[in-house]
Every structure is written in C-alpha cells, then in structure tokens.
Amino acid sequence: MGYSFTLRTIYPYFGDLWQSALNTLLLSLLAIVLSIALGALVALMRRSALRPVRVLGAAYVEVMRNTPLLVILYLVYFAAPEAGLRLSSFMAALVGLTLNSAGYMAEILRAGLIAVPPGQFEAAQSQGMSGAQVLRHVVFPQVFRTIYAPLGNQVIAVILASSLATAVALDEVASWMQTVGSSSFRFFETFVVAAVVYLVLCQSVNIARILIGRKLFPQGRRT
C-alpha cells in the first residue's frame, strides 16, 4: 500500500477549515431556530378547528418527510431567480434547510402537545387560569419535557444535514473536505478531520442536552 496517513500535509488548509466550520455552525443554528418557529406554526395548524388548515399542515409535513433535502435545496436555489430573488448560497441553504427541518419540528411539537392529558387543561382552567397562564404554567412545562430528547436529536440532524449545502456551492465543512481533498489528494486525512469536526459538534450537543436535562428535570424520566 503506497499511502501513508500524514495529517501534516493538510495543515495549510486548516485556516479554511475554521471559516467552513463557522459556516456550518451558523447555518445550523439559524436553521434550527427558524424551523422551530415554523414548525410550531405548522403544529398549531394541525390542531386547527378548520379542516383545510389541518390538511395543509399535514400535507406540509408529508412533503418534507418524503422529499429529499437535496431536491428541496436545488428547488430553492434554482427557483429563487425565477421569482426575482437573488439568493446567496447561504440564504438558499438556510431556506431549504429550514423548510425541511420545520416538517420534523412540527411532528415533534405535535407529539408534545398530544401528550398533555386533557385533564390538565381542565384542572388549570377550573382554577381560573387564563389561556396564557394555562400555557405558561401547565402546558409548556409538560410539552417541553416530552419534546426535549427528540428536539436534541433534531438539532443533531440539522447539523448533519447542513453538509448538503455543498450542493448549492456553500463553503462549509463537507465542501472543505471535497475541495481540499481534490487539491491535495489527501482524502483520508480530510475525511478524518471533517468527521472529527462533525463528531465534536454532534456529541457536544448530545452531552449538553443530557447535562442540561439533569438540571432541568430533577425528578428523572417523567411518568
């Protein structure tokens, strides 16, 4: 075998890696926050009293679950100019990633809402709480407990999915691997480095979730 693993050969490219990693992080964070908001909207739509609204919400989720993210990214990237919008790679990736993730967020939030027993609403209302008070003191804490772990997993999923932004020409970690690998022919090294970056990002989220979870939910797993 004529290949020896030498990390030193790609040291010069570590400067670019930093920039790429920042892009990955920024893209992921923004997509997560925005998709939670959009997902909350869709989850509420699915609980609407109006049937067309419910169907629309359900359709949105089904489309996002069954269509590859790559196709959605291409659609946003190539369709935007037709609608007169000039989107940068970052913006196109952000929109596509957000739209896709929102479908999954909606399902997570919906499951959290369903898990609150109706008796909880009744008890709180019977004590004279206003709608806002019921949401704040009784519903939200219980929903949050239910969705906490799946939400953490979805955050990780978004970080991994951000790698597809390569396809719309964004400079992030996956494209760094491909570019640097091509110029240096050191694909093994770039793969290991890229893998480490993602590993660190994902496992950090995991560990943070567990540690924060212990602080937030002292009574352990809910009934």
Binding site: L70, I72, E82, V173, G181, F187, L199
Partner: protein, 221 residues
C-alpha cells in the same frame, strides 16, 4: 417536457434499485452487528456501539466522498459511483438497522428464552425458531422508515456523478432551458414513491399490531 418522462421513470427505477441493494446490505450488516452486541464480550460490544455512534454523528455525504474519492487512492482500485454510493448508503443504513434489530430482539420477553432453554434448544436454534420470528414483527415497520431514508439519501449519489433520479432531473432541466418545473416534477416523483412506501409501512404496522417507535423517526436527508 413530457418526452422526458420515460427517462425519469427509468431513473426512478435506478434509484429504487440502488436503494434496495443498499438497504439489503444494510439490513444484513445491521443484523450482524445486533447479534454481535448480544455476545457478552465487552470490547466487542463497545466496538459495535462505537461504530453506530460514529456513523450517526457524521453526515453521509462525507462518507460518500471518502468512499468514492478516498478509497481508490488508498487501495489503488477504481470504484464506480454506483459501488461507492451503494457502499456508503449501506454503511449508514447498517448503523440504524443494528439498533432496529437489537430493539426487535430485546422486545422478545425473557420468558421465551427460558422456555427454549428449558426445552433444550441451542442458542442458534432458539434464535432461528423462536426469537427471530417474533422479533421480525417488531423490526419490519421501522425498517420501512429506514428504507425511505435510504431512498432519500440516494439522491446524494448525483453529486458524485451517478445517473439516478436526481441527476436525471437536473439533466432534464438543462435540456429544457433551465426552468424550475423539472425540479418540481423531480420532487413529485420522489414524493409519490416515498409516500406510497410509507403507506405500505403503515399498513404493515396495523397488520402486525405493533406500536410506533417515535425515537426512530426518519433522518432528514
């Protein structure tokens, strides 16, 4: 654009074939891994768990890049995009499947093992005649989800030049003047295929009377 439909359908077939092959390999690999986890040898279990955690913490795209670009350099062999995609998808699927299969095996109660042991069954016999049939009922529904995920991930093969559904869609788009309607059609084809498969999965679930494992929700690819 209509004239390109046969091409698109053929490409859909290619995608289905690629996904199916990767899924099969992934299922075998996942089963092997799940069985390895049963062995009470700590370092082996840690290795399997490490494998799983590794593949679930990195994007499949970089695995694909590595297999396609890196392995030829390493081993000095040529790898076609098809082989690279199949391998990468299978590796990824096997990580998820090992958890699905392990859960399926775990779902079979202790009492079954004890009854089999009491009757003199060996471990392979117990697995084959008693545990596996019961585990399969629990394994099948989430496997459908893994297949759908694999199918969506197969679209990434277009990035390394394999002519499957997404690549074909892009080519059709170029050939028809670069609009976005071909992309909508592309999305629609994927949607129809995956939605149909998920309905089959739901019907399976109902017939097998098994509850949903919500923590095995499909990946975002």
């Amino acid at each position: 654009m209509i004239q390109y439909w046969p091409l698109m359908l053929k490409a859909a077939g290619t995608t289905l074939w690629l996904s199916w092959l990767a899924m099969l390999l992934g299922a075998f690999g996942g089963t092997a891994l799940a069985l390895l986890r049963q062995i009470k040898f700590a370092p082996l279990r840690w290795a399997v768990i490490g494998y799983m955690e590794f593949f679930r913490s990195i994007p499949i795209l970089i695995v694909l890049f590595f297999v396609f670009y890196g392995v030829p350099l390493l081993l000095e062999v040529d790898i076609s995009p098809f082989v690279a995609a199949t391998l990468a998808l299978a590796l990824h699927a096997s990580a998820t499947m090992s958890e699905v299969v392990a859960a399926g095996i775990a779902s079979v109660g202790r009492g079954q093992w004890e009854a089999a042991a009491a009757a003199g069954f060996s471990w392979p016999q117990t697995m084959r005649h008693i545990i596996a049939p019961q585990a399969l009922r629990v394994i099948l529904p989430p496997s459908v989800g893994v297949f759908i995920t694999t199918l969506k991930e197969s679209s990434l093969a277009s990035i390394i030049g394999y002519i499957e559904l997404t690549r074909t869609g892009l080519l059709v788009r170029d050939a028809t003047g670069g609009g976005f309607v071909p992309l909508l059609a592309l999305g629609a084809v994927y949607f129809v295929i995956n939605y149909a498969i998920s309905q089959v999965g739901a019907a399976l679930e109902r017939r097998l009377h098994v509850g949903r494992r919500s923590d095995l929700v499909g990946a975002m690819a």
